[in-house]
């Protein structure tokens, strides 16, 4: 008998869940946009400012020492979380977008030239498209796109056909934010490596749901955001292979990232500091450490079982609604359901569900090329976390039916 989660106990850890919105109990189904924060994270943030606040790395006084130790402890926890070979390969950024831009402007700038190619997929978030378009435009390189099937699965045969020695980088998400598909990154990475291309995996949507071992997956670059992993906003992580990070030119110049500065020339600091110019987001990095502790204390198998059960239950219930079509029916999915309803604009559904206290996301999910592929203006997206319940799904479906009656 597999261990099951005590959901009531878990929900008690998340203060934000216990409130009324528009006179109804909040149902939070927008976890793909951002996850809620356990009390431990909120407390860590407050405790840092109350007791330890100081600038890190350079100070020699006690508070600076404490803040530096706590900040670097999160880096250690992340190295363990990702099974990174070294803590020097964990670079703090402000989020997934910043991590992708960093790689585009350093690795991309140094390695992509005229006539070279960068491959992205049709499932990408704008943040894993636009930074590559910018560097491609500057370098006269080309963007190639892995097509996606009607079900939301990447076409691996088409991907194989796109691969050639001119491909310098493949940038795909681990999990689609818009429709929840889990992409076959093992295959994507090994096929890219076979032609000498490097791979950036956008893990924004996967880290809260799937375990990631960067060595086992032979990751070149892996990026994600703390706030989608029960941590604070404004913190992101870039993991990179040591030799890649070392060979890349620095990104932003400033304090922290230098070894010595003179007007005759400047030498740069070692990893990871080379890529961390300026005072970082100390408080949120430290609080992120508390989020990592929290999520790792939950048995991962029980967490996955809970989320799979929520997905299966909600999918079944939603399918029974007449005129409703689920967008994205890949066999491998995380607990995200995107759907459209005949003759109803997604925005209207989102506005009315909010009146029932239910938070879902509507729109194009910053994935306009995917919406264009499916000829949709947008979808409604319900995305679950382990703290969501079957009762919430029941009420969501009931309120969705009421909403459709009102709009009908």
């Amino acid at each position: 008998m597999a261990e099951t989660l005590n959901i009531d106990q878990i929900r008690a850890d998340f203060p934000v869940l216990h409130q009324q919105v528009n006179k109804a109990p909040l149902i939070y189904f927008d976890n793909a946009a951002t996850t809620q924060k356990p009390k431990a994270v909120i407390d860590a943030l407050a405790a840092y400012y109350e007791h330890d606040n100081a600038n890190i790395h350079r100070g020699i006084h006690t508070l600076a020492e404490r803040a530096t130790t706590a900040y670097e402890l999160t880096r250690k926890k992340l190295a363990a979380f990702l099974n990174a070979p070294s803590i020097d390969q964990i670079i703090f950024t402000s989020g997934t977008t910043a991590g992708i831009n960093l790689v585009a402007q350093t690795f991309g700038r140094a390695n992509v030239g005229k006539g070279d190619q960068i491959i992205v997929s049709n499932l990408e978030h704008h943040s894993n498209i636009v930074p590559w378009q910018m560097i491609a435009e500057e370098k006269w390189a080309e963007i190639k796109v892995i097509p996606v099937s009607d079900e939301g699965v990447l076409d691996i045969e088409a991907y194989k056909a796109l691969l050639n020695p001119r491909v310098k980088l493949v940038a795909v998400n681990h999990v689609s934010n818009a429709i929840g598909t889990i992409n076959p990154i093992v295959e994507i990475i090994s096929l890219a490596h076979a032609v000498g291309a490097k791979v950036l995996i956008d893990g924004a949507q996967s880290v809260a749901h799937l375990s990631v071992d960067v060595q086992a997956l032979d990751m070149d670059f892996f990026v994600f955001s703390a706030h989608k992993l029960f941590g604070p906003t404004g913190v992101g992580v870039l993991y990179g292979k040591q030799e890649l990070l070392e060979s890349m030119p620095p990104y932003q110049g400033g304090g922290e990232m230098i070894k010595e500065v003179s007007f005759a020339g400047t030498t740069y600091n070692e990893l990871p500091y080379k890529f961390e110019a300026g005072t970082p987001n100390i408080a949120d990095v430290i609080a992120f450490g508390a989020a990592l502790d929290y999520v790792q204390a939950i048995p991962s198998e029980a967490l996955a079982t809970q989320e799979e059960a929520l997905l299966a239950y909600a999918t079944e219930k939603l399918k029974a609604i007449s005129g409703l079509r689920i967008v994205g029916t890949a066999p491998e999915k995380i607990a995200v359901i995107s759907f459209v309803i005949d003759g109803v604009h997604p925005q209207d559904i989102g506005v009315l569900l909010d009146k029932f206290g239910i938070a879902i996301r509507t729109g194009h999910h910053c994935a306009q090329p995917l919406m264009q592929r499916y000829e949709l203006v947008g979808t409604c997206r319900a995305s679950f976390a382990f703290y969501n319940t079957f009762e919430e799904i029941d009420r969501f479906v009931l309120c969705l039916e009421k909403t459709l009656q009102m709009l009908g």
Binding site: N22, H345, Q347, D348, L352, V377, K402, M406
Partner: protein, 138 residues
């Protein structure tokens, strides 16, 4: 001589005052959206579109005598309901009246959230655009 703008706003406040429940209020708003006079397809041009992050709004204005007449449409029905009220309040008035209008009814009927979501639905831009037309016609 048309009905003054504030008189129409008072009418709307009274109509919405009849509903205690939010659901009834929204059903009325949806109904207003459904009854919005259809916009001629000829006016649904790229030039007339106001892009929101989630839904589009089309707005056309013309001057008939001294008065500015608006036509508008949207893909989303709740936005259409809002448009219907904005047209009822502002259309068929002089540019000076439109420019001087203070649209207090929106807050009074409890619908200001739809004008606060600046990026999502294009309504804020629509109100601004109505005023720009009034300015251009004055």
């Amino acid at each position: 001589m048309g009905q003054p703008i504030n008189e129409i706003q008072e009418e709307l406040i009274e109509e919405f005052g009849l509903f205690e429940d939010w659901a009834d209020k929204y059903e009325y708003l949806i109904d207003l959206g459904k009854k919005l006079a259809p916009m001629s397809d000829a006016f649904k041009t790229e030039e007339n579109v106001i892009k929101g992050c989630q839904s589009r709004v089309w707005l056309h204005a013309e001057k008939q005598g001294d008065l500015v007449v608006f036509q508008a449409d949207s893909e989303a029905i709740i936005v259409k309901g809002m448009i219907s009220m904005l047209i009822r309040v502002l259309s068929n008035h002089t540019p000076a009246e439109i420019l001087a209008a203070d649209l207090y009814f929106i807050e009074q009927i409890g619908m200001s959230q739809h004008l606060a979501q600046t990026r999502s639905n294009g309504l804020v831009s629509m109100v601004k655009q109505m005023q720009h037309y009034a300015l251009a016609f004055s």
